[in-house]
């Protein structure tokens, strides 16, 4: 598997008069589980879409690295998988039909597809629900199906936009265990979340607030530097500072 990493320099994105992202510089180093932490409206989805090539930066740059060398997005893209925040699966298609559909999009041969789908169904424990339609799945199962569709291509970089939003605690834990497994396999995983407790599960955190980057680094180091007991406190302090 190739090792992927992404860096941004003064990345900004505006939608008319609204500045969603204001000159942020991220360093998403390879093979780690990165958390993009922030409350609603912080700019997480905009950042994710920019990284996935679905939006164009208003200013600043994004550099993609493949095996340590800068690569064009076209070269990087085949190894990149993205799972959007909102429900993006087809409610009238079953788990099996989703996998078959994405198999064709990724042009997987029968043997590779059989191996990967069997592996994914085992770790997500969705094997016995193959015929169930996406619209009839629970929140956790739905997210797992989205993840399976993204992982079917065996990506080197995985972008997940609020994958645990609206998911029950047990399913959330299972989901994070899946992500740990991917990071252990040297996949670059970037997860955005508004749940502060999830920040501590990441190897690196990037705290976003109102389109600006508050802090970046290992979770414990970020907390120590801020002199805060938890990530929530950092955002609350920032909010009070802004009010003054």
């Amino acid at each position: 598997m190739n090792s992927f990493s992404i860096k941004t320099e003064n990345l900004s994105k505006s939608f008319g008069a609204v500045k969603a992202l204001k000159g942020v510089s991220f360093d998403f180093s390879e093979g780690l589980l990165h958390g993009l932490i922030g409350s609603n409206g912080a700019g997480k989805t905009t950042a994710m879409r920019l990284l996935a090539g679905l939006l164009r930066p208003s200013s600043g740059s994004i550099t993609y690295f493949k095996d340590g060398k800068a690569a064009d997005f076209a070269e990087f893209r085949p190894g990149l998988a993205y799972m959007p925040q909102q429900a993006s699966l087809y409610p009238d298609l079953s788990i099996e039909e989703h996998l078959e559909f994405f198999r064709a999009l990724y042009r997987l041969d029968a043997e590779t597809y059989a191996r990967r789908s069997a592996g994914l169904l085992e770790i997500t424990r969705l094997g016995k629900f193959l015929k169930r339609r996406a619209g009839q799945l629970s929140g956790g199962m739905y997210k797992k199906l989205g993840l399976m569709c993204a992982l079917l291509q065996s990506p080197s970089a995985l972008l997940l936009d609020e994958p645990t939003n609206g998911v029950d605690p047990i399913s959330r834990r299972e989901f994070w265990e899946l992500l740990y497994g991917l990071a252990a396999d040297r996949v670059l995983v970037i997860v955005s979340t508004a749940y502060m407790d999830e920040a501590e599960r990441c190897a690196r955190v990037h705290l976003l607030d109102d389109g600006t980057l508050l802090a970046s680094g290992e979770p414990r180091a970020v907390l120590e530097e801020a002199g805060a007991a938890g990530f929530e406190e950092i955002f609350i302090r920032r909010g009070k500072g802004a009010e003054r």
């Binding site: 090539g53 998988a81 993006s88 298609l93 064709a104």
Partner: protein, 370 residues
């Protein structure tokens, strides 16, 4: 990675077929609309004006007056109603649509070979009915001149009228083949606009665009099932025309199919453009109804002849695909027109379809930019 991957397009098409089969609204619309339109225009709507209630004020009561009344009623367009003392009042009250006044001495003058006049009054508040009736009157007048005045018209000239391609002026022969334009125009635009807008609205387009699938593969895969569905509707119109309404098909079937395909491409492109521009099903549906229905129903010549429109609208219809398709369909069905006779509609439709497709493809976004 580059190039068009037929397997990926096929897989998008296969997924779309599953959506269609599992969505009652799409199925009912696609299968029900052609049936509804053919039934509606074939049986309920008749552009021929018949059963016009005619009140006759016969102050002559002679044989020629009776003969004149018979000529009116035997035409098939008029049914006599009992005329009271106030014949004009019957028009006011709606008990009669038209009135025929025959003055005293009418029969005597006819016998003497002199010129005679009978007055016909028509309710002009419904101008389309009045216009149709004034057309019938010319024929009735000629018939009366023959039957009352002898072997020759007063001018000594016998005029025989014969209508080519539709000898009995059967309005169903005129309308039913034209329904192909309405069905393609409405179904193709509406269904395409809805299916692509649904992908945007549900968020699945974001997921699709992040995969290696190319936009052209998404478009081809999404549109192909609807093209087949719409062509199925046209085939139903063809079968109904031929075997239910007895409309002759004098032209070339491959040419008819070629025109249908061109028109389908233009309609699908319009639907695609609407969906990309709106990205919302409800707005897309409203636009599709307006763009799909109005031009094909009102500005194509389906009901109102294009030649009779004011110059501005006459020229305006030239940029509307339904106008050219309608001309071609009627030409192929009834006149047996070939490509030589239909060269202008063919080229116009080809150019418009190519332009609309290019516009839709250009508008189709490959990212999430607003």
């Amino acid at each position: 990675m580059n190039g068009f991957d037929l397997n990926r397009a096929y897989s998008v098409a296969r997924k779309e077929v599953m959506h269609i089969l599992r969505d009652p609204f799409t199925l009912v619309l696609a299968l029900g609309l052609p049936v509804m339109l053919v039934t509606f225009f074939g049986y309920a709507i008749d552009f021929e004006v018949r059963d016009i209630k005619l009140a006759v004020s016969d102050l002559d009561q002679g044989p020629a007056a009776r003969r004149l009344k018979e000529i009116f009623t035997s035409s098939g367009y008029f049914i006599p109603v009992e005329a009271g003392s106030g014949t004009v009042g019957m028009l006011d009250s709606g008990k009669a649509d038209a009135a025929l006044f025959i003055e005293p001495g009418f029969s005597r003058t006819v016998m003497g070979g002199g010129p005679v006049t009978a007055q016909f009054i028509m309710d002009g508040s419904d101008n389309s009915k009045a216009a149709a009736v004034s057309g019938y009157l010319a024929g009735i007048q000629r018939s009366a001149a023959f039957k009352l005045g002898g072997a020759a018209t007063p001018e000594g000239l016998a005029v025989e009228t014969r209508f080519l391609y539709n000898a009995e002026l059967n309005s169903q022969w005129f309308t039913i083949p034209g329904l192909a334009a309405i069905i393609i125009g409405l179904l193709a635009i509406l269904l395409t606009a809805l299916t692509v807008a649904r992908e945007w609205e549900n968020g699945s387009m974001e997921l699709l665009l992040s995969t290696p699938v190319r936009p052209i593969e998404i478009i081809a895969g999404k549109l192909a099932p609807y093209a087949l569905l719409v062509l199925g509707g046209v085939f139903f119109v063809y079968l109904s025309s031929r075997f239910v309404f007895g409309v002759p098909f004098a032209g070339s079937r491959p040419l008819f199919l070629a025109f249908c395909l061109l028109y389908v491409v233009s309609a699908l492109s319009q639907g695609l453009f609407i969906s990309v521009a709106t990205r919302q099903q409800q707005v897309a549906m409203q636009f599709a109804m307006i763009i799909g229905l109005l031009p094909s129903l009102l500005l194509s010549g389906f009901i109102f002849p294009v030649e009779s429109m004011p110059p501005f609208f006459n020229y305006f219809t030239m940029i509307l695909p339904p106008r050219w398709f309608m001309e071609a369909v009627r030409g192929i069905f009834l006149k047996g027109a070939g490509l030589r006779e239909l060269a202008l509609p063919f080229l116009a439709l080809l150019a418009l379809s190519a332009a609309l497709l290019a516009l839709a493809l250009k508008k189709f976004k490959t990212d999430m930019e607003p």
